[in-house]
């Protein structure tokens, strides 16, 4: 919404400069988005004095002028006849951008150099005369800016208005605010329509068949108009707020729209069949061509303005092509109506057609301002387009809409605002914006709010008016009184922090990716047909195809991130994401929300360590990623985590034999391992990558928060090593579990310190070397005591796993 300072000054005395006014309006809730110089476009247009005029050697109608533009005499080729030597004229210098959109350049015209353009007043949008060059009366110094020479100055104020303030979608609305802030009265223009001869009822009729959609419809008829360009003042006003002048009828409706915020429509009365207006809803599927030339299909809920035959306008949105004002239009019917906001909004949305008019009706125009706007338009039209009005007005307004009346407690106002205002002060703020205030008692005011303020319905709305007119800066800064409370952070929040610490400690950086991903992500991950992650939540209006569904896994985001980083040559990556995935319920009820599950997933690709002078570059492997998952379990204190070879089809994206599932209790928490080559290919990745994909909600369930100190034995430990030659299929984990299961109290720990396959170990076998730590809580263990226990343990292991000891070396 734009207004010009000079237009505002028609209604309110403004004695501050534009910047000050803009600041004050912003602080009162009308946010000024931009403040610009109306005549900024004259920046490169200066006063020039014609020193010499010579005939153009190659063109009879052109002449070559030598023009003094202050910093020199420049050649300018000109085609106008009214120039003469010594005249002062506007010169657009190279770089000037004229209202037509043309940019002036230095060049040659029919072979003669020309370094500018002499302009008519129409070319500079300073008047309507385009017959010749504007001859300046004041003999300002050549080179002086034209705007300064002509004393042109105006500011354009552009607002970013909130949707609750449609009353400010007009110059008067803004002026009303300015008047309240500047504490000066608002000056309404006098509206007076000349009397007509024939009563309008004898010429036209209006029937409203849908009064719920159209509570008020008023019309006037102007006879014998002569269509032509509008007077300059009218064109200038429209130009100033960015509207294009069209003709002296349409311009008037636009002027009143901008001035009062009431959208109007002008029909060519002679093209209205049977000279009548019927307001009714459309027939489903009916077709109608709007004046932008687009044929539209109507719905049964759309409100139409019809004549005796059919629709002539989409009510409150746009007129029809058939009844548009044309050059030969003689009689004009002006419509001023109040259309229901919701009806207008639904139709505009359905058709995808928003206009200045629909924008205002959707937000709410003043139902009681309809008549005044109509009269104002009639008055100006008679002045600008000739013609005379038919006598009187048709005004169908069966159920007048009344002012809303609100009772306001001064005490509660003060309580909410933290202020100490008197009843009179509260009242005077409200009166300054045309609210009617009547005291009921010491505390209460009865406030009637005019119908143009559609946003004032409750006492709190009035409290805001008081607060903003007084200034939010006057509200004291206080601190709430409240009880001392200490709310412990929930388990999940704590563990999230812990998890992030653990992973960043492991060298993983956190990424955050969009919650929406591409639809075929499940296919690319190779998930089974029945996989719950195929129950994706689709977005009906995605921004792009690859953001069409809500993610059901964090992996696509990690893989896409790896892809983007590898394109950037960031080849060594350790990244994780902690976030929600969204699973539709199995039998998707239309109104049931999806299940939101928090996952923690990570990816490691490239070297174990960045290459430095310390390390040879080594590729990360399965045991690296497993180590990270172990660190996570340990960091979160997960009860008894166990790893097992993949068995669930859920992890089809991992390479068989190179990945493990993580279990705790009887639940599967996720998996970790190498990504399958197929998945890498599907995500266009060339480098081996390892990932973990764990259900954070389940991890939280299995995490214990309490930590109890265990006593530490003060006696020293003794260790014994064994190397076992076992079948290569034997899992090290089962050996460790077996030893633990023996329940030998003196065994404190069992660690694998070597695994070896190859000579001299026979084919199909491998050697696992274990170190067992023995320790007692009561005494120093003797060598022989340990040897005895160790032998028992060793024999049990050998028997259980059909293992052998190595031929040489053996155990100590």
């Amino acid at each position: 919404m734009k207004v010009s300072l000079s237009w505002l000054k028609d209604y309110v005395t403004i004695d501050v400069d534009a910047a000050e006014l803009a600041e004050a309006l912003t602080m009162a809730g009308l946010e000024v988005e931009a403040l610009t110089d109306r005549y900024g476009y004259l920046d490169r247009v200066v006063v020039g004095r014609i020193v010499e005029i010579a005939a153009h050697p190659h063109a009879d109608t052109l002449s070559v002028c030598s023009v003094d533009v202050g910093d020199g005499i420049k050649p300018v080729v000109c085609g106008a006849a009214n120039i003469k030597k010594g005249a002062f004229v506007p010169v657009a210098l190279p770089g000037a951008r004229l209202p037509s959109g043309d940019t002036i350049k230095a060049g040659h015209i029919r072979g003669q150099p020309s370094e500018g353009m002499l302009c008519s007043e129409a070319e500079l949008a300073l008047g309507t005369d385009s017959s010749g060059i504007l001859l300046l009366k004041d003999q300002a110094a050549p080179g002086k800016g034209l705007a300064a020479a002509l004393d042109l100055s105006d500011a354009i104020i552009e607002f970013d208005l909130t949707p609750n303030r449609p009353d400010c979608l007009s110059v008067i609305g803004v002026a009303r605010e300015a008047a309240a802030i500047l504490k000066t009265p608002l000056k309404y223009q006098e509206v007076k329509v000349p009397a007509g001869a024939t009563p309008i009822e004898e010429l036209a009729s209006v029937t409203v068949e849908a009064p719920d959609h159209c509570p008020r419809y008023a019309a006037r008829l102007i006879l014998d108009v002569k269509i032509g360009p509008s007077p300059f003042w009218l064109q200038d006003r429209l130009n100033s707020v960015g509207l294009r002048a069209i003709n002296n009828v349409v311009d008037v409706t636009n002027f009143v729209l901008m001035e009062m915020g009431q959208p109007l429509h002008a029909f060519d009365f002679d093209r209205l069949a049977e000279n009548r207006i019927v307001v009714k809803t459309a027939r489903q599927g009916q077709r109608f061509t709007t004046l932008d030339g687009v044929e539209r299909t109507l719905g049964a809920e759309m409100l139409m303005i019809c004549d005796g035959k059919g629709p002539v306008a989409l009510a409150g949105i746009m007129g029809g092509l058939e009844s548009e004002i044309e050059d030969h239009t003689r009689r004009v019917l002006i419509e001023s109506a109040y259309f229901d906001p919701i009806t207008t909004r639904r139709t505009a949305k359905r058709l995808g057609l928003g206009t200045e008019s629909s924008y205002r009706f959707e937000r709410g125009v003043d139902p009681n301002g309809v008549r005044r706007a109509l009269d104002r338009a009639a008055q100006i039209m008679v002045e600008s387009a000739g013609g005379k009005p038919a006598e009187g007005v048709i005004d169908v307004y069966p159920r007048p809409i009344r002012k809303s009346v609100i009772e306001l407690s001064v005490k509660r106002t003060n309580r909410l605002l933290g202020a100490g205002l008197s009843r009179e002060e509260v009242g005077s703020y409200l009166e300054s914006i045309e609210l009617e205030v009547e005291p009921l008692n010491e505390d209460r005011l009865r406030v009637a709010s005019p119908t143009f303020r559609v946003d004032l319905k409750r006492p709190e709305d009035l409290m805001e008016e008081v607060a903003r007119l007084r200034g939010y800066d006057k509200i004291p800064t206080t601190y709430p009184e409240s009880d001392v409370v200490g709310i412990p952070r929930g388990k999940k929040l704590k563990l999230r922090d812990r998890l992030r610490q653990v992973l960043s400690g492991c060298g993983f950086s956190q990424i955050v990716t969009y919650s929406f991903i591409e639809k075929d992500a499940c296919d690319r991950l190779g998930l089974g047909d029945k996989d719950p992650r195929r129950r994706m939540v689709s977005i009906t209006n995605p921004l792009t195809e690859d953001q069409g569904v809500m993610r059901t896994s964090l992996l696509p985001g990690l893989l896409a991130t790896m892809y983007r980083n590898s394109a950037q040559r960031n080849e060594n990556l350790k990244i994780f994401e902690l976030g929600k995935v969204f699973l539709n319920p199995p039998a998707a009820d239309r109104d049931e929300l999806p299940l939101e599950v928090e996952m923690i997933s990570g990816l490691w690709t490239g070297a174990r360590y960045d290459k430095t002078w310390h390390f040879r570059e080594e590729e990360a492997d399965f045991y690296d990623i497993k180590g990270v998952v172990e660190a996570v379990c340990e960091g979160l204190n997960v009860k008894k985590p166990r790893f097992a070879p993949l068995s669930s089809p859920d992890f089809a994206y991992l390479r068989a034999g190179h990945a493990a599932e993580l279990h705790a209790g009887d639940e599967r928490l996720g998996a970790a391992g190498e990504l399958s080559p197929a998945v890498l290919k599907n995500f266009h990745l060339k480098q081996t990558a390892f990932c973990f994909d764990l259900n954070f909600d389940l991890l939280v369930d299995h995490a214990t928060q309490e930590k109890l100190a265990r006593p530490i034995s003060r006696f020293p430990a003794t260790t014994r090593d064994i190397a076992l030659i076992v079948d290569e299929a034997v899992e090290a984990g089962s050996v460790l579990d077996f030893i633990e299961g023996l329940g030998q109290e003196l065994i404190e720990a069992v660690d694998v310190f070597d695994v070896y396959q190859g000579r001299p170990i026979p084919d199909g076998k491998k050697s696992i070397a274990l170190r067992i730590t023995y320790r007692s809580f009561e005494r120093n263990l003797t060598d022989s005591e340990v040897n005895t226990i160790h032998e028992v343990v060793t024999n049990k292991v050998l028997k259980q796993f059909k293992a052998q000891l190595p031929a040489i070396d053996g155990w100590r």
């Binding site: 912003t26 602080m27 009162a28 809730g29 949707p163 609750n164 909004r345 639904r346 959707e362 909410l416 933290g418 946003d455 709190e460 409290m463 805001e464 903003r468 939010y472 509200i475 800064t477 206080t478 601190y479 709430p480 409240s482 409370v485 200490g486 952070r489 992030r500 992973l503 960043s504 400690g505 492991c506 060298g507 950086s509 956190q510 990424i511 955050v512 990716t513 969009y514 919650s515 929406f516 977005i539 009906t540 995605p542 921004l543 809500m550 991130t561 980083n565 960031n570 350790k574 990244i575 929600k580 239309r590 109104d591 929300l593 939101e596 360590y609 960045d610 430095t612 002078w613 310390h614």
Partner: protein, 335 residues
Amino acid sequence: MKEKLERLEQEALKALEAADNPQEVQLLRVRYVGRKGAVTQCLRSISTLPPAERPLAGKLANEVKTRLEAAFKDSIEAFDTGRKRPDGALDVTLPGRPLAGGRLHPITQITQAICEIFLRLGFEIVEGPDVELDYYNFEALNIPKDHPARDMQDTFYVSENIVLRTHTSPIQVRVMERQSPPVRIIAPGKAYRVDSDVSHTPMFHQVEGLMVAENISMGDLKGVLTIFVHQMFDEETSLRFRPSFFPFTEPSAEVDIRCVICRGKGCRVCSHTGWLEVLGAGMVHPAVFEMVGYDTGRYTGFAFGMGIERIAMLKYGIDDIRKFYENNIRFLEQF
């Protein structure tokens, strides 16, 4: 005297030659030319010589002292600059063996910083679903269907009644539905709007705050947000409250802070206004209270919301919001 001085000089230079580290050189320096050093003592004893010998001896002693001092100084410099190294010395300028930790995403770091401030003020952290019912996202926040206020937020739809939440405000309603006053919560989370350019991404993060009790005033809102801004930025960062409109607060305010880049002088970041819009806030609209069954006669409250990306961009000097979601590791490792 002469021989003694010459001997001392030879001896000192030899010892210096053998010195293996700068500490040793320091000791030698003290031993020979320090306040009680051997050469210094010689110099002092000149007064005991016959007057005829004094000038020559004095000159010589001074020369020796000067030469030795220069030699010590040079030797220490040689160690300092690495020209000379102790035996078996390591090249300590080689980089250490890296124990590089990972970094948390800047959005996480800023969210944590914001939450910490409010936690200290006794606010509780709550969360809610990203995929939300239209009812909680709009209706219960006083934004009925067909209301122009819906245009303020371009919505992703899942179905007619299910949306991706356009703000974290629905959490307010969910909390008030299950809990009676007093309420003091903050709710961080993701939000979604159909928008994508240098300053908008279709997914972004917000923190919502809500406080409801008896006698909460707009002054209290100013107080709490002032504390927040002062702790998040610094005590010099002033605030300005401007009337605005949100359907679920009345009165509503936009909260601007003094531009943290130019301190109000006007720069590109603040569009030369000197102010940055960082928060939306207001007093909870009675219609919202009615929707959750709170007694509007008894309780008042305030709510506020802020975009985390916006604050992160200001704190870290980031000019394009999309960088947060490109996840270029070289970008992330800066934080």
